[in-house]
Amino acid sequence: MPEPQEPQAAATAPNSPDAGPAAGAAVPSQGAPVAVAVAEAGPAPGRPRSLWSDAWHDLRRRPSFVIPALIILLLLVIAVFPGWFTSASPRAADLTNHYLQKPQLTHFFSPEWLGYNQQGQSVYARIIYGTRASIVIGLSVTVLVMIFGSLVGMLAGYFGGWVDTVLSRLTDIFLGIPFLLGTMVILVSFDTRSEWTVTLALAFLGWTTIARVMRGSVIAVKQADYVAAARSLGAGTWRILMRHILPNAVAPVIVVGMVALGGYITAEAVLSFLGIGLSDPAISWGADINRAQERIRNAPHILLYPSILLSITILSFLMLGDAVRDALDPKLR
């Protein structure tokens, strides 16, 4: 999607310093176009406000946006630089650190802080290093799904007729495949599963919702007078699609994408929990939770901490998606 929201870039101007980190956090989860736009926003006071800058203005004073945004920003930093947060290696196994030892909850950020697992690995280091898998998979599935789903939905919605019939039935077929079961079937056929294998499997079955939302949105937008006006002034199909339809139709898709992001992280964890997500020795919350369940009665901390972090992450993305939806939907104001 080649940055269709140009005015937004110009208009997201009133970036107060305190809102800065929140912007950064919102960026990657919104998918490509918004990322470009917000990143380019320079200081230009007094610039006019578009729908997007209105939304931004609204969002940055909402706790339900700022808090999850800050958490997500932190998670992103953890995912990129896990070494900043722990000195321990997540793979170093020392059986003298027995898993039945109680976590040293006062030793903040030390390897023994959250205790050790059955193999004498630091639970804290494991969850720090496990962040990357969740975030990377969640984000890349969302980006892929948004690009592909939007494309399919836009073509179906704009051209209608047999194009719509073919693409919509194709969407229906994919929608008919149960999401988790389908990805399981796909993933089982791979011997080793990297982050990319899991991402592609999830994206392969995940794009349908976006395509449907985009199709509906485009059908609504293409009947707008400004599309007829653009056509009556000689604009070509491509220009109409990219400049006039996409920017007006993309808001619901972004919202659905952000809410779905939490779902993709869950899906990754579930798959890893079932042992068909990332294959060893990849570090993933889901896989760790799986291994922890056999010791849940005498060492619940091994299960507890990755679960807490997983829940916080998913909740943050869901809340962020909700807040963005409220900001972009004028009817909910």
Binding site: A229, L233, G234, G236, R239
Partner: protein, 344 residues
């Protein structure tokens, strides 16, 4: 033959001519005949007002000229749209796109919905120059400011980056006018340009439009249902009813002595000061459904003068003459009994 080659005015060939146009819409109840053999011409510097109530086919005709009719469900079933003698309807989509905006432009009724809410007005104005003239962003923006000045938007330079919702209704309509004027087209179609505005602003916008039309020596097709708007600006009027033109007349002639019962009904429905306190006249009945247009004259069920021949024979456009038989220039009426109507 390319458009460029015929750019000069060809004597004897009207600038824009609609010839016996038929348009249908496919609906569940069968074909809705929105336009049934409409013909009119516009020359450079001339204003034609197309008058009619909702559903009379005036906007559909305009959309067909512009080539922005939704097909399907719309379908042009016959006729020609000639621009400088060339039929637009048989052109390839690519050729047509070059005509749109550049040679023929359109002003929409509701400027708020006709401007893209997520793009600044400067961008939308500049887009025209970039698409049609291949200008750079910077040049296009400068042109946009120039145009906004031309349609008298105060502080155009500061407002060029504003978004449509930040302008008032009148200003938005001026921006629509600026967009239509941008490439100095030969013909402008204004589809109820003032309907969405309040009365004081209506006059300003109409004056601006008339002035610009004079300056650029354009042909203007003014589509409206408002007789008051028409009186000051139009040169000639075509009255439409149920997809047909029922009367053609120079503007003052039409007001003075209508030659069709429908036109007379419209004129009688205008509130007048000397009728204060009395009930306002209204044409009885409703416009016909376009899927079931009455046989004969489409107006016959509502007409006070209808006779048997009106229910069986479709009246063609007949030349209207003075009682002594001297022709009146440019006057036609599709009424079997135009003589009675005009001369009483």
């Amino acid at each position: 033959m390319s458009i460029e080659m015929t750019k000069a005015e060809v004597p004897g060939v009207p600038l824009l001519e609609v010839r016996d146009l038929h348009v249908e819409f496919h609906t569940r109840d069968g074909a809705a005949k929105a336009v049934n053999g409409v013909s009119y011409t516009v020359d450079a510097g001339e204003t034609l007002a197309v008058l009619g109530e909702s559903g009379s086919g005036k906007s559909v005709t305009a959309q067909t000229i512009m080539g922005i009719l939704d097909t399907p469900p719309g379908k042009v079933t016959g006729g020609q749209v000639l621009f400088r003698g060339e039929d637009l309807l048989t052109m390839s989509e690519q050729e047509r796109r070059r005509v749109r905006g550049d040679k023929i432009a359109m002003i929409f009724q509701d400027a708020l919905s006709a401007l893209n809410p997520v793009l600044s007005v400067g961008y939308q104005l500049g887009e025209l120059f970039r698409v049609h003239r291949g200008m750079s962003r910077r040049e296009a923006r400068a042109k946009a400011v120039e145009l906004m000045d031309r349609v008298r938007i105060p502080a155009a330079k500061e407002r060029v980056n504003d978004y449509p919702h930040q302008f008032s209704g009148g200003m938005r309509q001026r921006i629509m006018i600026a967009m239509a004027l941008a490439l100095e087209p030969d013909v402008i179609i204004a589809d109820e340009p003032t309907t969405a505005l309040d009365v004081t602003v209506q006059a300003q916008v109409m004056d601006l439009l008339a002035e610009l039309q004079r300056d650029f020596h354009m042909g203007l097709i003014l589509i409206t249902h408002d007789l008051g708007v028409v009186a000051d600006v139009a040169d000639k009027i075509a009255v439409m009813y149920a997809g047909r033109i029922v009367e053609n007349a120079p503007v003052h002639e039409l007001y003075k002595r209508p030659a069709h019962p429908y036109t007379r009904g419209l004129l009688d429905s205008i509130p007048r000061l000397d009728h204060k306190g009395k009930e306002l006249y209204a044409i009885k009945g409703l416009p016909p459904s376009l899927t079931a247009i009455p046989s004969g004259c489409a107006f016959n069920p509502r007409c006070t003068q209808a006779r048997d021949v009106c229910r069986s024979e479709i009246p063609p456009l007949l030349d209207v003459t003075e009682p002594d038989g001297t022709p009146i220039g440019g006057r036609t009426s599709a009424c079997h009994f135009w003589k009675e109507t005009i001369h009483g």
